[in-house]
Amino acid sequence: MNRCLTERTLMLLQAGEGGAEERAHLRACPRCTARHRALEDDLGVIADALRAGPPPGAAHPRLRWRAVGALAASVALAVGAAWLWRAAPGAPPGGGGDVSALVQDLAGTLFATSEATAAGDQSAVDVADEAAAPFDEDDELALLFEGP
């Protein structure tokens, strides 16, 4: 065997595998012997680094990209939902292009919906109407003194 060993074969030999022919070449060829030694040194350094535990700033690179992706998707979803709600029939007129106003509208709608779900749709609306109506002192007195 005259040709030098490939990197893959060197790795196999380093892992205790590979054929007799490759081993014979490794013993005979100074260049392959040096490459083999360099591979062993590199693997030793890599193993030490991994055994020593993660250094500062090396953990979860994928996670950071996932987080950025999740954040971008959330923003896109919120803007899309606001735009759809604005474009839906029955929405208040005067839809301008102000995204923050749309998001505020959406937040208000979501809040009202959750309140209504918690206490029953109509009762929540009634309570809201009563709260919004101006206080009438005469009506209140009439209710207090109304006899059977």
């Binding site: 055994r51 500062p56 996670l63």
Partner: protein, 171 residues
């Protein structure tokens, strides 16, 4: 069923002998000290739940730990993101007491190696950890991970190639 007294002694001895190795392996696969501790704990609880110690306990523990780490990585990324402050704790933990290995390695070099290791596929990480760090044979790794020997060699070659490139700063 609870283990007998002799079984309990055997389990305790196993815990003392294997805990450090297993924690190191889990930390390697999860890159998070606290999660590694949790997984390690789960693995030993599973061992204690066994009626008798498995025939090859060291290998059994490693196999269960590798599977548990894989499950954790599949299911828990959102939780790790939520509790991302732990990353800093981990960094402090790693930076606090330098071992001889740490002293010998440059911080930048270690960061490069770890970044590339974290970018490897889960399979490549598992194969590299078991084959190169745990010293298992190709056939043992193949059997444990449910792969063919050829796949193990392929994963090992790719992982080694990328890690060496990182070490030499050619990436």
């Amino acid at each position: 069923m609870k283990p007998t007294a002799s079984g309990q002694l055997h389990h305790d001895a196993l815990y003392r002998a294997q805990h450090g190795r297993l924690l190191s392996l889990c930390r390697l696969l999860l890159a998070d000290h606290h999660e590694a501790e949790e997984v390690c704990h789960e693995v030993f609880v599973k061992l204690f739940d066994q009626r008798a110690a498995p025939p090859a306990p060291e290998r059994w523990l490693t196999r269960v730990a590798v599977n548990a780490c894989r499950d954790r990585r599949r299911a828990g990324w959102w939780r790790r993101w939520r509790e991302r402050g732990e990353e800093l704790v981990e960094a402090e933990h790693a930076a606090r007491g330098p071992t001889p290995e740490e002293a010998a390695l440059g911080l930048e070099e270690r960061q490069r190696i770890w970044r590339v290791f974290r970018r490897l596929s889960v399979r490549q990480q598992e194969v590299f950890a078991l084959r190169r760090l745990e010293g298992w044979s190709t056939d043992e790794v193949a059997e444990t991970l449910g792969l063919s020997s050829g796949s193990v060699k392929r994963h090992l070659f790719r992982a080694t190639h990328q890690l060496r490139a990182a070490l030499r700063g050619t990436r």
